[in-house]
Each structure stands twice: as structure tokens, then as C-alpha cells.
Amino acid sequence: MTWHVDAEDLRAYAQGELAPPALWSADTHLVACAQCREVLASVGDPVDAGWERLDAELDAPRPGLFEGLLMRLGVADHTARLLAATPVLRRSWLGAVVAVLLMSIAAAHTTAAAPSPTLFLALAPLLPLAGVALSYGPALDPTYEMAVVAPMHGFKLLMVRTVAVLAAALGLSGLATLALPGYGLGALAWLLPALALTSTGLVLTARLGPVLAPSLVGGAWVALLLAAHAYDASDTLVPFTAAGQGVAAAVAALAGGLLFLVRDRFDRFQSVRFQGDAV
């Protein structure tokens, strides 16, 4: 052995107070190091707890890449596991998001004379809306039925997943924005509509369910853009002007407040029957 677990860490380990990733290192090391196990055995009364913890950790699987990354960023291990189980935070979905963004950036560069990257601004707000819709509900979350009857409030789980999707989608869209430096701050005009669409979709989900609500919101967004384009195709579309951004911010704030008011609706099944199952 070229190193040994620090005595303070061993004491914290025995008392159940050592946090990851130091905890994982100690777990792994103790399995192989008799000297450290002896030290652990000598640190006092809580040693039984330490041995019990070691025993329990021996066959606890190591967190996956994404989960481990979250924990290294300071996310609590239980929250990281909830996030890792978010259905859309998988390579396939993230790959699709990247593909959409790359295509819209390419389109913006081919029409460099346009006053704003319209296709990019139009598509970017739909990504978190779709991501959140695909992260919660009976259709796509395989553990939905078990999650609904768990003590953790359904709204809390929804928010954990929403934050995860927003972080991923907004982060990727933000990176994509950097690829459009010629448009200045105008290239960020997708952000407030993205928040408005996502929060409105969530509010309506409480009433209309996790499929119809985001579909309607997405459809309304597309209809709005088409109407704005028909009204004036030559300039920046209205939703991406200063006035449009103000409206988007107001809608996002209003929907956020309404979402909080209807939070208990997420504590029950979104419909009495689902998946065509039995009565």
C-alpha cells in the first residue's frame, strides 16, 4: 500500500460522517488494507457502525458516470440518484438535443444576413418543454406508479427532474448560443420563451395530463411564430423583440406561481387509468 486513510477520515468514517468521494476511497481502500482496518477497529465505540457501514458498502454499486459527476459537483447522493433516473437524461435524448441545436446553428450561418437566428430561437424553447414532458408521467417514467405513492411529494420529484432537464437543455442551448456571436444578445432571446413554455406546460399538465398539455403549449408556440412571421417576415419576430421578451417573462412568472398553487395535483395519478391496464 502506498497510502493509508487519514486518521481523522477513519474516525469520521466510523461515525458515519465521511462524505463522498472520500467515503468511496475509504470503502475501497479498507477492503484491501488490513492496517487501516486495524486502525478503524481502534477508534472507539462507533466502530461497530463503521464495520456495518463497510459491510453495507461492499456490495453497493459504484455510481455511474453522470451520477458520480453530479456528486463531485456537490449534489447529495440521493438527489444524484433521482436525477440519474430522469428518463430523458440519457445519451439518446441528449444526442437528439445536440443534433437539433447543431442544425439550427447551421441554418443561422447559412442565412447570416437575417436580423436574428429565427430557426434557432424558435426551436431552443421547445427542447426543455419536450424534455420535461418526457421526464414525468405514466407514459414514459417506468416507476411512475411506485413514485406517486411514495412519501416523497410528487411535486418535489417533478421539480428535481425539471431542474435537471432545464440545466441540461439550457446549458446546451447556451453553448449553442456561443456559436452565434454575430447576433449578440439577440441570440439569447430563446431563454425567456423557454422558461415560459416549460412552466406553462407544467401548469397545464396538472389539468390536462403530461401528453396533451405540452403538446398544446408547443403547438401554440409554433402557431404564434407562424402568425408573427405572417405579420412581418422581414424583421425579428415579435416574441424575440424586447416587448415579446417582457411578455415571456411575465408568463413564466405567472405560470410559476400557478404551478406552486396546484402542486398537490402532482401527488396523485395524472389519470385514474393508464397504460390501458385493468380496472
Binding site: 458515519g16 463522498p20 467515503l23 457502525a49 456495518e52 457501514r53 453495507a56 458498502e57 456490495d59 453497493a60 454499486p61 447529495a76 447522493d77 440521493h78 440518484r81 433521482l82 433516473a85 417514467d141 417506468p142 416507476t143 411512475y144 406508479e145 411506485m146 413514485a147 406517486v148 405513492v149 411514495a150 412519501p151 416523497m152 411529494h153 420529484l157 398537490d264 401527488d267 396523485r268 395519478f269 385514474v272 387509468r273 397504460q275 391496464d277 385493468a278 380496472v279
Partner: protein, 287 residues
């Protein structure tokens, strides 16, 4: 004995279906079987009692907590273990990771304590050897045991099992029955099933549902006794029988109202169940 679950007048309608119609029941410690045909309302009743779906009318308590309020509902859920009819899994999770995930939903946030609990329940369902195996690589019986382990996290006082033996081969079914019997020691278990053998082997009490109503509430022996004197043997299918089928011996086993002088047979739980459903059908037709 103080009931774990006490419900009165539960009714729920969706679309044109009266899924629950004035259901009242009291559940005590041990395994209670819930029998009924497809569409009887079993799954809906389980979902209402599991606090997943609110009833239109009626009320119930679990261990004294009223799930009509948000606080009461959370207390009920802390005492609840729920195995749905088709438990879903994150297929890339291992058995340990999946049960760990459910344990987090059950508010076990301390990593060490949670992992000890995950190990305990996986040991309890005899899956210690496959803790690290991905769920998508487990057999159907093992997956069902993983779901049962998840339901047992936190040592719940009220366990709701929705047709847990469906799709299992006879050996797996027998193994699962052992686990349910063990789980029923010291806690209240409500077991929905199509299998009368499950009820005969496991349950101290049985409820029969049809058309959203409880049609029978008693012991398995009492349900069996309903068919006493109403099962007979014949060389041809008796046209007056409610149900009749050729047995392995070549003779017909008939259930219903036997003709005079018929050779009566010892009734089974299934006979009692069939006659109860038939009586319920006649009641609905008359109404």
C-alpha cells in the same frame, strides 16, 4: 382487533364505468386475498387504498391516518408498501440501485442507513446474490422479487400487492407465495389475485369483488362452504349447471344446482368463488 385499514362507502366512477360502488371493508394483520374477474374493480380499489387515486365518495383510514389531507396522505405512504400490477423498472439500474432509488423516494436519505436497508430487503427476498446484476438481465420471477423488495423498504405496516404471481411459472409462484406468507407475519397484506390457489394457501380472509362491489367477505373456508352441496359429478355435462368441465378422470365436474340423486363432490375454494360470481351476475341482471 384494531383494523389497519378501515374503509366505508368508497365509490369511484370514471367514464361510463362504476369502478367502485359503495365499498366498505376492514383489514387486519395477516394476508387478505382479493379475488375477482377482470374489470371487477380490484386494481382501482388497491390504488385508492394506496392513496394513488382519490375516491369520489366515501372515506378510509390506514393505521389511523386519513389520506384525505396532504399530511395524512404522507403518513399513510410512510406505512405503505405497494407492488403494482406491472411494476416498472429503470432497466439499466442494478437490483441494488433500483431498490436504493425507491428507498430514496421513501425518504431514506442517509446513505449508510439506506444501503443497509436495501441489503436487508434484498436478503429478505433471497436476491443477495444478484444485487449487482442489471434488472434487464434478471428473469421475470427475479424482477418481481426486486419489486417486492422495493415494496418492503422501510418495513411498512400495510402492504398492497396487485396480482404479483401473474406470469410466474409454478416454481416461481411457490417461491413468491413463501415470500408473501413471510411478509404477512406481523403486518397487513392485501393481495389481489386471479389465482384461487394463492388465496387457499396464503390468506386468512378473502374478499370477492365483482362490478365494483364486495360480493363476499369471509374466510376461505366460508367461501368454500358456499359451494357445499352444489358441486356434482356426471358422465355428461349437465345442461343445468352454471359451469361444468371434463376432468382428468373423464367425468364431468358441475357447479350450480344439482339434480336429485346427483353424486355430490367435495367443494373447493374455486367452486365457491365461481358460485359467488354467478350470484353477483344474477343480482346485477335483476337490478
Amino acid at each position: 382487533m384494531t383494523p389497519t385499514v378501515s374503509a366505508s362507502g368508497l365509490s369511484l366512477r370514471f367514464g361510463g364505468t362504476q369502478a367502485l360502488d359503495d365499498v366498505s371493508l376492514r383489514l387486519t394483520s395477516g394476508v387478505t386475498g382479493l379475488l375477482g374477474p377482470n374489470g371487477a374493480g380490484k386494481t382501482t380499489l388497491l390504488r385508492v387504498l394506496a392513496t394513488a387515486v382519490p375516491a369520489d365518495r366515501g372515506a378510509f383510514t390506514v393505521l389511523g391516518y386519513d389520506p384525505a389531507t396532504a399530511a395524512g396522505r404522507q403518513e399513510v405512504r410512510r406505512e405503505l408498501g405497494y407492488l403494482p400490477q406491472t411494476p416498472g423498472f429503470h432497466p439499466d439500474f442494478t437490483a441494488f440501485e433500483f431498490v436504493d432509488y425507491v428507498a430514496i423516494l421513501k425518504e431514506l436519505t442517509d446513505r449508510g442507513a439506506r444501503h443497509r436497508e436495501v441489503r436487508r430487503v434484498l436478503d429478505e427476498v433471497d436476491l443477495a446474490d444478484v444485487r449487482g446484476k442489471r434488472i434487464k438481465k434478471l428473469s421475470g420471477g427475479m424482477r418481481q422479487r426486486v419489486a417486492l423488495a422495493a415494496a418492503l423498504v422501510g418495513d411498512p405496516g400495510f402492504l398492497v400487492l396487485d396480482e404479483p404471481t401473474v406470469g410466474l411459472d409454478p416454481e416461481q409462484r411457490m417461491r413468491f407465495r413463501e415470500l408473501i406468507a413471510h411478509a404477512g407475519e406481523g403486518r397487513t397484506v392485501l393481495l389481489s389475485t386471479h389465482q384461487t390457489e394463492d388465496v387457499a394457501m396464503l390468506c386468512h380472509r378473502v374478499l370477492v369483488m365483482a362490478g365494483g362491489r364486495i360480493r363476499f367477505d369471509g374466510t376461505p373456508a366460508e367461501l368454500t362452504a358456499r359451494a357445499a352441496g352444489r358441486v356434482w359429478s356426471s358422465t355428461e355435462r349437465d345442461p343445468g349447471a352454471k359451469a361444468g368441465w371434463r376432468t382428468g378422470t373423464g367425468s364431468f365436474r358441475n357447479v350450480g344446482s344439482p339434480p336429485d340423486g346427483a353424486e355430490l363432490l367435495e367443494p373447493t375454494l374455486e367452486d365457491g368463488y365461481l358460485l359467488t360470481l354467478d350470484d353477483a351476475g344474477a343480482e346485477v341482471a335483476a337490478a
